[in-house]
Structure formats: structure tokens, C-alpha cells
Amino acid sequence: MATKEMRAERDPALTDETMVINLGPQHPSTHGVLRVRLTLDGERVVKAEPVIGYLHTGFEKTAETLTYQQCNTITDRLDYLAPMTNNLAFVLAVERMMDIEVPKRAQYVRVLFSELTRVASHLVWLGTHVMDLGAMSLFFYCMREREVILDLIEAAAGVRMNPSYFRVGGLAYDLPEGFHEKVRDFLKDFPRWMTTYRNLVDGNPLINERLVGISLLDRQTCYQYGVTGPNMRATGLALDLRKDEPYCYYDEFEFAVPTRTQCDAYARFWVRVEEIYESMKIIDQVLGKISPQGEYATTDRKVSLPPRDEIYGNMEALIHQFKLVTAGFPVPQGEVYQAVEGPRGEMGFYLVSDGGPKPYRWRARTPSYYNLQTMPIIAKDGLVADVITAIGSIDIMLGDVDK
């Protein structure tokens, strides 16, 4: 275990030799298939180089062969713990290019699901991060709570993991009946459980020993590397795109942006835990704003599919359905960059259109990729056990890194 004595100055007589070992790609604490090439001097890390690409699937190339509505399904698979925020960034980018007006209710529902996925994603992070530090039981509790959120997503989108629920022009379907009550039940139970889990780690000397003062990531490094999200906010800067570049009427909701100033793993830990509570506040406010059933997509039939009963009775609707399914819709020539605040930071899409129904260039600016780049800095001069803390505390997702 990494104790203060071991972190103290090393004996120069013992340091004439270094050793290179691989951490991963098949290691449970690397959260996927990350490989870190560690140059070790005894227990101390001299150099840590992340080696990525083991999960590279060529999404950017695939997307160029799909229509815009089909591309949406790929975005789910980038950061598969927070698929909804990826969907959101993509559909907002396309809507911005086409200048589509989306009904306000649909935007609110998007906020609702973005926040639900943020909570789900942070729960997985909390469970796995604490498990990496040696506490097993919290993982099961977090997974149990996440299951409730996945059930909510399943109720609305039909699937748990890769929902593609947001579509260009609105949502895929309306909310199911009784959805509000389900979310309210969740809101009623969850804070109580969350506080219980929080008490398991709050002030725990074992957790503190592993987190306080470990893997420092200061603000200048964040600027240099484009690190965003909770990692950035742990340096004291309240940079949150929901506040700074509001999308989906986020400016109508009241929530705080949690920050810490210590720049270490402990600060990042509490920023994320507090974000869970802030997301709950937003979810609660959304429920007060939306009706159980209502408008869920634009009525512009050039982008959104007509409802089923319309197709069977209306020739024009049938033609629209046929065109949208077989050919997709054309997007005006140009380029756009649209970013949203994902659980891991700035999730953005840079799209270039040549005027056709398929993107000419589809670039995902995935937050984990830029966050992971700081690995050599934050793991340097620590112990091997601190490398595990570093990986967990910057909250990377390898599907997001490798694209």
C-alpha cells in the first residue's frame, strides 16, 4: 500500500536500474483495454506512457458511409457509459447545420436523459474507482442504482445500453405512460442511498490515503492538453458548457457547478460525487416542466419520420417515410462544431457536409482522449498503486479514447 513513508525521498544507492513493465491491456483496473508502458525504478514510476488503439473500430470512416440518422447509432458506441450525451452532441450539430427548430418539450426530455446518463456514468465511475482502491462492496451498490437508471432508459428507448433515443429533429418516440412516476420514484429513493454510499467513503482514512495529494493535474496542464469536465473543475475553474454555452435550454435550470481547488485525485473524486446531486436537482426541475405526453419531434417531415397511422392514410407521408428511410435527408454544405458537457468533459462533433445525405467528415472530439494524454504527467514520480488511482481518477472510457 502506498504509504507516506514509501513516498518519501528514495535512497540514491538503490536506483541504478530501471525496469519496463506493461500494465494492461488486459488488466481489470485499466477500465478496458488500455495499456500503460511503465518504466519503474523499484516501486517508483519514472515514465508512464499510455499505448492506445486496442479498441479502435474506425467509427469516423464508418460514419462517412452512413446517413445522418444512421450515424446516431455510432455515437452511442463511443462512450458507451454515457450514450445519451454523445447522441445529444451529434443531433445538435446536425440540427444547427440544418437550422431545425426542435419543440421545447423534446429539448427538456433531452436534458432529462442527459442528466440521467450523467448520474449512471458517475455511478459506474464511483463503483469502479473505489473498487480499484480496494473497496469491493460499493461497486455492487452503485451497479444496483445504475440498473434503475438503465430501466428508465429501457422504458423510453426500448434498449438499455445503446439507446439512440435522440434523433435529428427531436426524439425517437414519446415518453411511455407512467414515466414521470418512475423517475419520481427514483428521485425519492436514490438520494438516500447515495448519502449512504457517500458515508462509506467520506472521511475513510484508507480512501483518503490513496487520494489526497495524488496524481496532481494543475490548471495550466489542463489548458495545454484540452482537459475538460470534472478534471478541469477540480482545479478551481467552473468551466461547464451547460452554463457557459447553454444548449437545450440549460440556462433555465438552477444548478451549481461543483469545483475544488486542490487539483488532486481527491478533488476530482468529490467534484464528481457532488455533480451527481446537482444532476438530481436538474432532473427534478425537468419533471415539473414537461407534460407526460406531448410533442416529441419536429413536424418538419423533411427530417423526422411521420407517425405510423399517418403513413397508412396519407400518400405524402408515405413518400416522406420512404425517402427518409432509403435516402436520408440532405444537409446543407458547410461545417459545424457543437459541443456538450458530457460526464467526462467536452463531447463535441465536428461535421463537414458536402450537401449530401451522408457526412463528408465526421469527427468526434471525445473527452477521454484528451484527458488520458495527461497520464505521463499525473503518474510520474508516483508509485505503481498511484497509477491505478490516476487512471480511475481521470475517469477514462476506452471506447471514447479509441473511437
Binding site: 470512416k61 462517412e64 489548458y223 457557459d244 467528415r361 469527427r363
Partner: protein
């Protein structure tokens, strides 16, 4: 929505003259810069204008038109919450200066651009493939790279 930096274009034109040209865009300020002035522009934006947060480097392949590659850089102003995009056009075997000296975060995206497009960045500390195996042939995100089928030798 994104805010626009008023007066920035004028300041840049004053400093760089003909080398920078504003480009119309639907989201935020976009400028096109000659490859020779790329490094100087990045340094100026970071030091003098406060665009100190790195955002992204990416490539668009305009095959078969020439020059072929459009290399797009995005930076962020963390205090004014403003974004800026600047881009350079380069041909197939024409190297670009690496921006790693200005924004260290450009390291991986530039390696990615080299890996998937074959754009070469001069002065990059470690310009190797990042996603694909080192012995991979070709650059998959190029428009003339086939998307399907197996190669028959």
C-alpha cells in the same frame, strides 16, 4: 450559443497581413492561414490573445481537389468562453509545422492525423501511428482508401 471575438480579425490582419483570411462560418470565428505562418499564429493566439486552451486538431480530405488536406485547429478562450478555428491547406507530401511546442495536447491528435491521413508534422516529438499497428499500409480516413472487401494478392 457561441460568442464572437470582435476586433480579433482586424488585429490578426494587422499582424499577419495577407497570410490570414477570415472564412464565413455558422458557429464561430474561422480563419484560414498559410502553412508558413501557422506556428506564429498559434503562438500569437496563445500568448497575446488568451486562446490558451487547446481543443482539437483534425484533418479533412478534399480528394481529388488540390491542395488535398485541410488541417483544422480549434482553440478555446477559457476566460471569455470563446472558440476559434484556424486552418491550413496542405498537399499530399507537404509537411506542416507541429504545434506540440505551443499546445502540448496537439501531440496525440497530430499522431492521429498522421496515422489516419498521412499528414506529416515537422518537429513532432514522436510521429508514429497511434491507433493502427506500425506495419499497417495506407491511411484509412483518406477518401481514396476502400471501405470494404478483402485485398486479393
Amino acid at each position: 450559443m457561441n460568442r464572437l471575438d470582435t476586433g480579433l480579425i482586424e488585429r490578426l490582419e494587422e499582424k499577419f497581413g495577407e497570410a490570414v483570411k477570415p472564412r464565413e462560418s455558422i458557429d464561430f470565428t474561422t480563419i484560414v492561414v498559410d502553412p508558413e505562418h501557422l506556428l506564429a499564429l498559434a503562438e500569437f493566439l496563445k500568448a497575446a490573445e488568451g486562446y490558451q486552451m487547446f481543443n482539437d486538431v483534425l484533418v479533412v480530405d478534399w480528394f481529388p481537389s488540390r491542395p488535398r488536406f485541410e488541417v483544422v485547429y480549434q482553440v478555446f478562450h477559457p476566460e471569455k468562453i470563446m472558440r476559434l478555428r484556424f486552418k491550413s491547406f496542405v498537399g499530399e507530401n507537404q509537411p506542416l509545422p507541429s504545434l506540440v511546442g505551443v499546445f502540448e495536447g496537439a501531440n496525440w491528435p497530430e499522431r492521429e492525423a498522421y496515422d489516419l491521413f498521412g499528414v506529416v508534422f515537422e518537429g513532432h516529438p514522436d510521429l508514429t501511428r497511434i491507433y493502427l499497428p506500425d506495419d499497417w499500409e495506407g491511411h484509412p480516413l483518406r477518401k481514396d482508401y476502400p471501405t470494404g472487401g478483402n485485398r486479393i494478392d
